[in-house]
């Protein structure tokens, strides 16, 4: 194998093994920071040895073994230091036995089913004691296997910022003595919500880039999908996990249709549906089915997935079941009231019952003032006004929306719409 092929192979092994390595090691050393160091050391060892000796037959086991030995060394070293401090050097006899105990305990710990460890790792990476951006960075690093460089590139921030975020997150977890376990009982719902939120945020960051010139950053979407699918496999009894998977799969199915030939955004109803990824839609509908079959009222993610499914099932935009979408938004607004949900509900209402009904909801939102600087409020209002033939007002709203968005592509789209209103209704000058 050539040097570069070996490096590609080592990288591939790491992509596959990284989360399992970190999870297994964290259980042993009870410190995600220490676990990462050990995994990193195993990587360095692989990079040193594999190009000469060839890639071992079971590279995953090799890495675990190597990291395990380092873990034992670390535990021993820590014990030794502690002993020295406590001046217990006289118990040399017992020490031999201790070593064997360490090794056996660590062996047993690492050979166990890794599933619970991965789940525990998700829960601590998304622990509420951490700031949201720290949760995101830590989750992508530990479970997504992204390097700090990759995370920094994805979020368009300097690498040092991400590195620092991760260092601080690990320190916070250690200081707060967050236990490495799957929460039970009442704590589970709240902690699970945090995990789902982090995965959704990663996806959205990729799906609708909030800044920069790209409308989509597909790698982040893929990372989020992978995390969500992993989570569904680890926590199959949680309906909202399947709801989130369904939502992400269906949203991701539209990726190819969301941008035009010049990279400009194409809105949902104008998308070429033949470019939707049928495989992802199929997976999304299956996940939604699993969420529904687990019983109980649908949670916010499953409801959003059910709305996305209405679009996915319609072969043309005209066939969309808007009445059902309105009903689903009603349920969502009752469960998780937010002005953004209301805004989306307004769009659905306008499609089901006409632009005037939609505009009434939007105008109420304008009065509330909560979405004052949200560009989509103006964009939607502009669209409804245009449909009602109130073009001068529509133009002003589109211009306002264009000024508010941080996404360059979206700004172009909105400016274009503003101009289209202008040419249709040249303002008449008063004498």
């Amino acid at each position: 194998m050539t040097q570069s092929a070996t490096h590609a192979a080592i990288e591939a092994v790491f992509r596959i093994e990284w989360p399992k390595l970190i999870a297994g090691l964290t259980r042993v050393v009870r410190d995600v920071g220490k676990a990462e160091e050990l995994a990193q050391e195993a990587l360095v060892a692989a990079l040193e040895q594999w190009p000469d000796e060839g890639i071992p037959a079971k590279p995953g086991a090799w890495l675990m073994q190597t990291a395990k030995h380092r873990a034992i060394d670390a535990v021993r070293h820590a014990k030794l230091v502690r002993r020295k401090h406590e001046e217990l050097g006289r118990e040399i006899e017992a020490e031999g036995g201790d070593h064997i105990d360490d090794r056996e305990a660590i062996d047993a710990a690492l050979d166990d089913e890794i599933g619970d460890d991965l789940l525990s790792l998700m829960f601590i990476s998304c622990h509420p004691v951490l700031a949201m951006e720290a949760r995101v960075a830590l989750t992508l690093r530990m479970l997504g296997g992204l390097t700090t460089t990759e995370i920094a590139r994805a979020f368009l921030v300097p690498e040092a910022t991400i590195a620092q975020r991760i260092v601080r997150a690990k320190r916070t977890l250690a200081e707060a003595r967050v236990p490495f376990e799957v929460p039970r009982g009442e704590a589970l719902a709240e902690r699970l919500a945090s995990v789902l939120e982090v995965v959704y945020l990663v996806f959205n960051e990729g799906y609708s880039a909030t800044a920069g010139s790209d409308w989509l950053r597909p790698a982040l979407c893929e990372d989020a999908l992978k995390l969500a699918r992993m989570l569904a496999e680890l926590a199959p009894a949680e309906p909202e996990v399947h709801g989130l998977v369904a939502l992400l799969e269906i949203q991701a199915s539209r990726s190819a249709a969301r941008t035009g030939p010049d990279g400009e955004p194409v809105l949902l109803l104008e998308q070429d549906r033949s470019r939707w990824d049928r495989l992802l839609i199929r997976r999304g509908l299956a996940a939604l089915d699993r969420a529904e079959r687990l019983g109980g009222a649908l949670g916010p993610y499953a409801l959003q997935a059910a709305i996305a499914a209405c679009h996915a099932r319609a072969t043309t935009a005209g066939e969309t079941d808007w009445a059902r979408i309105v009903a689903l938004y009603d349920a969502l607004a009752a469960l998780a009231p937010s002005p953004v949900v209301q805004l989306n509900r307004a769009v659905a209402v306008s499609m089901a019952f006409g632009p005037a009904d939609g505009l009434a909801i939007v105008d109420a939102l304008v009065e509330d003032g909560n979405l004052e600087s949200y560009h989509l409020l103006s964009a939607v209002r502009g669209d409804l006004l245009a449909k009602l033939g109130r073009l001068r007002e529509a133009r002003a709203e589109f211009e306002r929306a264009a000024a508010l968005t941080h996404n360059e592509r979206e700004r172009q789209l909105l400016t274009g719409r503003a101009q289209a209103c202008g040419t249709l209704a040249a303002p008449t000058r008063l004498p």
Binding site: M1, A9, K226, L227, E233, L279
Partner: protein
């Protein structure tokens, strides 16, 4: 990036041999790991070629050759999973596809259902069976020649008809073998050879489709899969397009 890993079969399975309980358990574990990685899209095994047919379409003429076959040109260019009442029905659909694409060789083989290998019972009332149709690679597909506009249009219409009839469960096309890798696991040693492959003589035994970050990752999964399967040849093929329409 999506990849299809196809493992080749051998005389034992061709003679109708059943996989051992241990192998079934190990393959189950492997597939579980693939699901957990978030990448598994599809997986199927094929019944022995004795249960299949080979279709040759040349100059508008069709030749139907019943199995078993000796491996000839086994490099696959595209595939479809059909749910039909009989293999004859699958042959009819494949012939209609061939009428669009032109000269081709197509193998049709039943997919392995759990009850075929002693896992559970066949559900009552099932009158259909899943068949996998595989179009073999030829100079045209290996050159990556895209279909003409007329072919695309006719194909879209046919796919629509098959979906409506509830026959088409999934279909996909593979990139030319120049992007492929072949892993051989014999005598306790694994070797990987890069494509293109001028020939492929081993009959396909089954496949998995995975969504992964790189070709190297696909080869790594292939290594692990080969470890589980034992002495085997396994092709890793980049997938160009895949659609899933039913189960």
């Amino acid at each position: 990036m999506k990849f299809m890993m196809m493992h080749k079969t051998d005389a034992y399975y061709e003679a109708g041999g059943l996989p051992s309980k241990e192998l079934i358990a190990n393959v189950g574990k492997m597939v579980g790991a693939m699901v957990q990685s978030g990448g598994l899209l599809a997986a199927d095994g094929l019944r022995s070629s004795a249960e299949g047919v080979r279709l040759r379409f040349a100059d508008g003429k069709r030749t139907v050759i019943p199995g078993p076959f000796v491996g000839g040109n086994e490099l696959v260019a595209s595939f479809a999973v059909l749910r039909v009442r009989s293999i004859d029905e699958a042959v009819d659909w494949a012939s209609r596809v061939a009428a669009v694409v032109g000269d081709a060789e197509v193998d049709i083989r039943p997919a392995t259902e759990p009850w075929d290998i002693g896992l559970g019972k066949k559900p009552p009332g099932v009158t259909t069976r899943r068949y996998i149709a595989m179009r073999k690679a030829d100079a045209t597909t290996e050159a990556g020649t895209p279909p003409t506009a007329a072919q695309r249009e006719a194909m879209d219409a046919l796919i629509g008809e098959m979906k409506q009839a509830g026959v088409l469960l999934s279909m996909g096309s593979l990139a030319p073998s120049s992007g492929a890798a072949r892993l051989r696991n014999f005598g306790g040693k694994q070797t990987v050879v890069d494509g293109p492959f001028a020939e492929s003589k081993e009959l396909i035994g089954g496949f998995v489709v995975l969504e992964l970050g790189s070709r190297a990752e696909a080869i790594e999964w292939a290594r692990r899969y080969a470890d589980v399967l034992g002495e085997v040849e396994l092709d890793v093929r980049p997938v160009e397009g895949i659609g899933v329409f039913g189960r």
